[in-house]
């Protein structure tokens, strides 16, 4: 029951302050809308909470993590490498934020940050455009439904967001990975330059080893400072050199004077008005006072993240929408996707023993998809065992010797001297593979489980299928064959069978489409059923491609904001 109804009607309410909520806030306020951003978690104050320059010796456990706390309160979150002793505080408390696994599904790792800025504080920053190889994928092989947009629809919006974000990257003129508006790339190590030349030679330029494109500044950009190469972005960035909502979009929105952020506001459901056939507001629980509050807005942007957005819709039942708001298609919660990863190969490369690097870069390298391409490359690149494709995050680096010290016998001065120095160069290929849309992979509402605020919890049912299995094999084989072509030694393939959710690229639960009967959103991320509702986070994706998706979410968000405001101005919403 709602206890407090706030009297103000906002021009726009944005649910979530992560990478898409931040963009919605920026675009909508800059276009003149009084905007309320609801964030479930507490504020993050950079000067207080960022800790990227706190060295291990100033941490209680020197980086070994607060193990007992994590075992008790973060058993899921702590499985993510990023949830370490420094950044663990940015991840959710699993006891307060429970979810369940549906019958027949694999274990799903739902890694979340409920804080102002959301997971944009913690993301890997890799930023790649998708291409028509991706937007035409569903219609080409019949899995999922066709995207209602093509690359040409999104290209200007990629330009738009990249110009603000600042992406360090190198143009490569590859159709499957379109170039963008780049800042200077972060240079490859001398061994990586050799690898690039070697692969170009061995594979005729079809396997391009390029500096990873990342949302990190290589020069001063719009008031934010260039990277100082301290190396661990996810702990924050006092010089605002990597892109996050907190470092970039929210301050821009704040500068308009039209932004209000309401932290500690856990959204329970959207409020639907049968008379006007519109969302009239949002019902939230104040996380601290536990009060039940309704806020009102003319349009709503749902940017709570893929699973949370589906959960909010499914928890927003009305007489007309008995299966959840905006769900006349029955597709809300379905087609949940992630990327397969933690699979690939590595090996040692001889040479350049007297060379190393200085500084700690915020990226490594990327090797774009080279299988199952389209157009005149289709025949030559066709794989018989699986559909779609994968790319690699990769790099050649040297580790320190002390980390293997426990395996070396001895102690004393000679032993200490033997641990000084660097290991040989090791080249690693870590694949990220596309996941086919499957309506049985889905989010529903658990009939009993509730979170700390009494809100029914998500139940997640998801399994990888044969296509993903076959792709895992190919990811290892193809990586190993590149290592062999480069003359690597000690080649080792690996496949840790990553669980669904663990790539933290979940998407697809409110897909865009061409037909209201089979999709939740139209080509503008606008609900077919409820015209003043927009969903622009990962939920909107109709397929998963193999590239990191955040840049595409940002472009879709900015494009949807532009459309929504134009429609509002014509009084059509």
């Amino acid at each position: 029951m709602v206890q407090i109804i706030e009297r103000k009607t906002w021009d726009a309410i944005v649910i979530g302050s992560g990478i898409t909520g931040g963009w919605a806030a920026k675009e909508l306020t800059e276009k003149g809308l009084e905007t309320l951003v609801l964030e479930a978690g507490p504020p993050v104050i950079p000067e207080r909470d960022y800790n990227e320059h706190t060295p291990p010796w100033q941490m209680p456990y020197r980086g070994l993590r607060d193990r007992k706390h994590q075992a008790e309160r973060q058993p899921v979150q702590s499985r993510a490498g990023a949830c370490d002793e420094w950044s663990g505080k940015f991840f959710v408390d699993d006891i307060d934020n429970p979810y369940s696994i549906g019958d027949g599904g694999q274990e799903f790792l739902w890694i979340r940050a409920r804080i102002v800025g959301g997971r944009s504080l913690l993301w890997g920053r890799q930023s790649y455009r998708w291409s028509d190889l991706d937007f035409e994928a569903n219609t080409r092989d019949g899995y999922g439904t066709d995207w209602p947009i093509r690359y040409r629809d999104l290209a200007p919006w990629y330009d738009h967001v990249e110009s603000f974000v600042g992406i360090a990257g190198q143009p490569e003129n590859m159709p499957q990975l379109p170039d963008g508006k780049f800042l200077p790339p972060i240079a490859q190590t001398c061994m990586e330059e050799r690898v690039r030349e070697g692969l170009d030679r061995a594979f005729g330029g079809t396997r391009r080893f390029t500096p990873a494109r990342v949302a990190v500044l290589t020069k001063h950009h719009l008031g934010r400072r260039a990277c100082h190469y301290c190396g661990i972005c996810r702990r924050g960035c006092i010089s605002r050199s990597y892109f996050s909502s907190l470092n970039a979009t929210l301050p821009a929105a704040e500068a308009t004077g039209r932004l209000t952020v309401r932290p500690n506001s856990v959204v329970r459901n959207l409020v639907y008005d049968e008379q006007t056939d519109r969302v009239s507001g949002v019902h939230l629980i104040d996380a601290e006072s536990m009060e039940s509050i309704e806020v009102r807005g003319r349009i709503v942007f749902l940017c709570a993240s893929t699973i949370e957005s589906a959960r909010i819709l499914l928890n927003s039942k009305t007489p007309r929408f008995s299966e959840g708001l905006a769900n006349s298609s029955g597709q809300v919660g379905r087609n949940l996707m992630d990327h397969i990863f933690q699979v690939g190969a590595n090996g040692n490369l001889d040479g350049l023993e007297d060379k190393t690097t200085f500084g700690r870069r915020p990226n490594s390298c990327y090797l774009p998809r080279f299988v199952n391409l389209d157009g005149d490359r289709a025949e030559a690149t066709r794989e018989k065992d699986f559909l779609r494709g994968f790319g690699y995050q990769c790099g050649a680096r040297r580790g320190t010797l002390w980390q293997g010290g426990i395996g070396q016998p001895g102690f004393g001065a000679d032993y200490k001297a033997s641990l000084r120095g660097l290991a040989p160069w090791r080249l690693n290929f870590s694949g990220f593979g596309e996941n086919l849309p499957n309506p049985d992979n889905r989010v529903t509402i658990d009939p009993e489980l509730e979170d700390r605020w009494g809100i029914p919890a998500a139940r997640i049912t998801m399994s990888y299928g044969e296509n993903e299995e076959a792709m895992r094999e190919s990811i290892q084989t193809r990586a190993a064959e590149m290592l062999e072509a480069l003359g690597a030694r000690n080649i080792r393939t690996f496949n840790r069978n990553s669980l669904p959710g663990f790539a933290i690229h979940e998407m697809g639960t409110a897909r865009m489409g061409r037909d209201p009967a089979t999709s939740v959103l139209n080509g503008w991320c606008q609900s077919w059923d409820v015209p003043n509702l927009f969903i622009t986070d990962g939920a909107a994706m109709a397929s998963s491609a193999c590239q990191n998706p955040s840049l595409t979410y940002m472009a879709l968000t900015a494009r949807a904001c532009d459309y929504a405001v134009r429609r509002m101005r014509r009084l059509e919403l």
Binding site: I5, E47, H53, P60
Partner: protein
């Protein structure tokens, strides 16, 4: 209960909170630009407590003698050479913290009992001293070699396991060696002097000679 229109709207609260939330970022342009020419200085300006470090805390679990024994062992495993040794790396405080809040009970009891047993052996073989810590380097190294041989025999070819639930099964020498290595190479002395670590490198150079790094 529904609050009537006209009561203090929560939006006022929202606005105030918003300023708190974004305040830091919005304030950025008003900090002097030269501050941000060196991000490390910038961060120290904003986190002044980081340079002070604070007074050393008294040990919570270890006795002073146990702490001194651990420090002496650590210094023999990674001794002072042209760089500081593990005796300058705050190993007792680090291990004490693990004993207090990190290690499972079984591993904690195992480590404490084995540490005392090791020290007792020092007194048995050298009845004239109060413990390992009082011995000359050579005598300390003999006792550590003995402990290392014992560990090798006990492990029987198996590798040391860092699995937290197996730590209580690890031989004393391996356990204390692991704690010394990890403690030293994450200490200020070890990271700065031995590894050449800089908190803020300030630039990325993809190819340098090893001796310049």
């Amino acid at each position: 209960m529904t609050r009537s229109p006209g009561q203090e709207p929560a939006e006022t609260l929202g606005r105030r909170r918003a300023l708190q939330v974004i305040g830091g970022a919005a304030a950025l342009p008003f900090l002097p630009a030269e501050l941000f020419a060196n991000p490390h200085i910038a961060h120290l300006h904003l986190h002044p407590q980081q340079e002070t470090g604070g007074e050393p805390q008294p040990l919570a679990v270890l006795t002073e003698h146990q702490g001194a024994t651990l420090n002496a062992i650590a210094e023999r495993i990674l001794p002072t050479t042209d760089t500081p040794g593990a005796g300058d790396a705050g190993i007792p405080a680090f291990v004490d913290r693990l004993l207090e809040g990190w290690l499972p009970d079984a591993a904690r009891d195992h480590l404490l009992a084995e540490l005392d047993r090791f020290d007792a052996r020092a007194r048995e073989s050298h009845p004239e001293v109060g413990g390992f810590v009082d011995l000359e380097d050579q005598a300390q190294d003999e006792l550590l070699t003995e402990a290392q041989d014992e560990a090798l025999a006990r492990r029987d070819g198996r590798a040391f396991s860092r699995n937290v639930n197996r730590l209580h099964e690890q031989p004393f020498f391996d356990l204390v060696k692991w704690l010394t290595l990890f403690g030293y190479y994450t200490s200020e002395a070890g990271m700065k002097s031995e590894l050449g670590y800089r908190i803020v490198p300030g630039r990325w150079d993809p190819c340098v000679d090893i001796e310049d790094a």
